[in-house]
Symmetry: D2
Subunit: 386 residues, 4 copies
């Protein structure tokens, strides 16, 4: 079995999730290549050095170019803010490193395509971090769709509802600045919904959307980490340059109808990442706040006992479940990353591209941007325009 | 088709539910004998006369003996307080009237038996008001058990949780006085659970229980109607002489294990009347607060999609549902009484005893009293002792 | 107190729901004018005569013009198929009769406006049958919005999901024919969502939609009643001329964002009529399949116990609940009509227009038609265009 | 900060859960002493050596006495089958090692007490593995009880329902043999409920129970690991010597009433570990299958919005949550062990006993055995008898 020496850029929310995934993989999936947590990289020397200790990395550096130039690194893991993805990925590809990149792949479709082409030219393995695909319950949904057990798909509706910035005094963190984040709830939350739609239903044909920024100005953040931040109402204010909420309608290539909503202004929803699929033979419903569950309905059930089943995807028959705990013993958010790393390491070992890879990242970006264009131009936009 | 001229004694909570049932029966079950709402009876002339108008009765009287002696009455409906049941029922039976009697049938097992024997001697039709049997979802549970689709029954657990007297200032209404009500939550709520157990699982072999009166004294009620009442903390207090909560374990004749709990001190539970049955091939769960639903599990489901199904018992295949609204359009509490009256009128027309009848009332009373004895004597009590 | 002698046109699904409402009103709301169930009208003499007996009407006729011309009728209740609404309503208004008309008010906005103007000219009382406003849980939502307890409204999302025609062999009933029904799920189900949006959030500014007819041809129905019908796959087929599903996005006048979906192709959803509102201070969620419940969230709750509350709107404090049963004892679909008739009879007695009236019917129709135009012209349509 | 060099005995289900906890602790709780995963011990040299590699232990041995005698070990972690606990714990205590022991502490109360006294005599730190105390949602329940926000506690009801041996062909694994496991569902599942009762409500005064072994004989297991095993119906059979289900009623010292049920025969319940507490001011409900959630009700809520709140215990204010992911991003079963190890390492560092420790293990054992006596002697048993 080969080696997988990792250099990771970024060490906040996603950096921790990835570190945990690398650390946990060997215990639960011993068949996978064991990732070596070699080097972690961040701009602040003190902070990244402390992160290295806490997160279990052998070494820390502050210059990502130096990291990429090292010969003892096989994979670059990019979880820096979105505006840094492209430059790092291009350099990593040119250096022949495999790449795992957090979503959204880039700030623009053009950048995303450049990243994909660079990765393909370099012949490296590339992956993008749509981690929700890796919930066992989502895999079960995928299996039911693919095997035809739900029949022809008529409807996909999905919503990712959060409330973390509903307080107008919540400060202006980087995720609320277009030049760094690219977009707001659209790219942060909607991107996940789009990827799930691609994964579960197929390609999208056309879209039309609407978006809103409810709170136009916020206190400039004095301190921030992960999703939390501190500010005060006496701080000077700056403009919010991304969307607080974006909704869109879609028609899929296969004729299914889609409805998407991403918002950070849904009071009471800490992180409701939810979808439902209705087909001619059945339906499925998923909500990430109860991520171990999938609700499933079959039209073929005996007529007196037809109803949505609440399935705990923790039985040995369910993807990944056998590696964990006995049936009924649930897993959590972080496990999606461990399964993601399993796919990555398997792909590297097998010499194939993992799923989702940069192609999926580009496809998602095309839809994100088509939605934005549809909003700007107030019209339906065909994905093939992009 | 024959006649069914009704004389009803009582006009509060249950009197209203019964009146509505008689009134609604012809519209939704036109095949049934149409009940004539002839005479309503109560002690307070003004109040009962007003009730006659509101509830749709042709006439009102204040003397139940007079009512029973009338030739133009076929059925006596008894929903007066529990301590009045026996005397009225005996007189009605002797007068050859059919009887519908609210639960609990009587204050004691001895009284209940006397009522049953009198009814049988008189050859009348008799019914007891265990209305929860008549929820379509409960009928579905019954059908699943009887048809063997749940296999051998291992467990029955049931709880009836309310919170209407959790406030210590709630006054001393008749339901809290042993000489009128017989018992507290045990006879009021537990009786329903016991009847459902008999209906769904079978006879009980032995029991052991415990009970408690958390609030020993309450203000004497100055006004009361139905379940609501008014008092104040400056009112003189009187002793609560019934149980606030009673729990018991049971072993069924067929070997199943039972757990029962009835309480009026479960904060947040307005009326959670809930049971679950576990068998070798499946399980069912019911909660009256969502009375249109039954949750059903089958061990024979495909292994990747095993889970409790939430079935809305509103499809044409479900008992009674076809008489009501399209699938997914729910019914409520009062409908259990309409279905109950359908069974009563059908039984009268067909010359058979309805289910549940006084035999079921006696059987329930035997268990109620066995539980009380088990509490007094702190030991297991066999139902055959009673 | 005045008289309210009713002539009702139509006697299927809605005719039964209305009849039950008229019959039940006096028992539960004795303060209201007692409706006289005078005359029922339908084209088939035998069937309507039988309906009169079952539903409790004194008389039956086959000619609605004759009915309208009678002096002993105060109110015309129109629940015939949608394409008959206009002609009957105009005639009734001209005859000075009050009108209760089922939704959708008319097949077109133009017709709806004509009906409104005729009613206003005639000075009659007019009401339109958006019955879901009359669920106690929906009233609670309204109260929370109006009192400001949810703050500024950011989001309204609503979906009405059914599956009653998911079987391609389900026949071509009148509800699937544009010339009779006007539209499909859009006017049947979407109309309710639009009215709830108007009721709960306010006027809609602009919309854009999409729709689909998944099954283009169906067996011609040989028999039909209410929502059920029989056909066979050997029957000749005819084209479905209405939408199976319609979705649209909306922007409200007050800046809130809206998402609407109505479909008859959501397997497992018998009648999921559901909405959620997110405001700056809280949220509410409603699902008609659990119509006694409202989920409510407040941002002001103590930080360690913030969560959606599941409220049973059966407490005395909730609208209408006091007329029914003790807390926790639920009501059903039909009760929305009883409450609707209470509003109607109160309005007549008080000499005011009830809510919702023809103005609301017109407003709903304007949005329905704006959505249709937005679909035809593939662009956002401003309601003021209509 | 001190050292914590661990020697762990056992490497199956619990061994994996503990290993993961030791490995994850430093990343998420960097303030804790970092556990050194020094030596793992098992009887089968090949298997334990392989386990060492997979689970991340530096070394493996086959003789637990040798392990205990080593000077470079500070803590002995015992997760071998229950019948081995006592001998190992006594030896470890005599050797002055701290002990973490899985539940149930011992096969008998006498043994458990001997273990406690030995640990106390030796002055070591001792802990017992009631991991469910460490769910953030359970901690929130504890906080609400302790702070008085639920008022006087009236009711505790708890059930631990599983279905893993419902198939009669499931083989006779060690957990079904009294001499190894001590008891069946009672000691395995009921023990957790009893500990939660102690933790949340307080000491139990008296109990009465019933138990059953539904399937008396099973195929002798040919292979087993964790909770899964293989057999076939042609295998020779052996007697099941433990209970399949045990129920009991309890009265707490503080007057609260308790109901407990543990079964492995509840079809559809993979691992429903659930409790509810009702107090004079509020209630809480918990179900481990949705372990991130606590339902909470307060009688003091405004009267129109009273209902159970569904709280996701993932906010920064909730115990442990801040160390994990943003609000709404859930954790799973294994995290209870990580939090358990945090308590263990904190206690060691602070020189105090962790909670729960051997005292809690003994207290639990006393109740378990009192229940067994109450079953044997068919009478109420006072815990002080034990």
């Amino acid at each position: 079995m080969g080696q997988l020496r990792i250099g990771m850029i970024g060490y906040k929310f996603m950096g921790k999730a990835h570190s945990n995934a690398y650390q946990s993989l060997p215990m639960f999936f011993p068949q996978a290549i064991k990732p070596e947590m070699s080097v972690i990289c961040g701009r602040n020397a003190g902070a990244v050095s402390q992160a290295a200790v806490q997160l279990g990395w052998s070494e820390s550096v502050t210059d990502w170019r130096e990291l990429i130039s090292r010969e003892d690194i096989d994979l670059i893991d990019i979880n820096a803010p979105s505006n840094a993805h492209k430059e790092i990925a291009l350099a990593a590809a040119h250096a022949g490193k495999h790449i795992f990149c957090e979503k959204p792949l880039a700030l623009t479709l053009e950048d995303a395509r450049e990243m994909l082409y660079a990765a393909e030219d370099a012949g490296i393995v590339h992956m993008v971090g749509f981690n929700y695909r890796f919930s066992p319950a989502v895999r079960l949904a995928k299996k039911l769709v693919e095997s035809g057990r739900l029949g022809t798909i008529y409807h996909f509706r999905a919503w990712f509802l959060q409330d973390w910035i509903i307080d107008p005094e919540f400060p202006l963190v980087w995720r609320l600045q277009k030049e760094i984040a690219g977009s707001g709830s659209h790219g942060d939350l909607g991107a996940h919904l789009i990827d799930l739609a691609h994964f579960l239903v197929g390609d999208i044909h056309e879209v039309i959307g609407m978006s809103e920024t409810f709170i136009k100005e916020r206190p400039i953040a004095t301190e921030m980490t992960g999703l939390s931040a501190k500010g005060s109402k006496d701080d000077p204010k700056g403009p919010v340059t991304v969307d607080d909420a974006t909704l869109f309608l879609a028609r899929f290539e296969n004729g299914a109808m889609g409805s998407f909503e991403a918002t950070r202004f849904a009071a009471g929803h800490r992180s409701t990442n939810s979808f439902e699929i209705n087909g001619s033979l059945g339906s499925v419903k998923f909500d990430f706040e109860r991520m171990n569950e999938l609700e499933v309905y079959f039209t073929s059930d005996d007529e007196d006992v037809q109803g949505f089943r609440r399935i705990l995807a923790t039985d040995p028959t369910h993807d990944y479940a056998d590696a964990w705990w006995p049936p009924g013993h649930t897993i959590g958010f972080e496990h999606t990353f461990i399964h993601e790393m399993l796919e990555l390491s398997s792909a590297i070992e097998e010499g194939r591209q993992p799923e989702p890879n940069f192609r999926d990242g580009v496809k998602c970006q095309a839809v994100l941007e088509a939605v934005e264009r549809s909003i700007d131009e107030r019209r339906w936009v065909n994905i093939s325009e992009m």
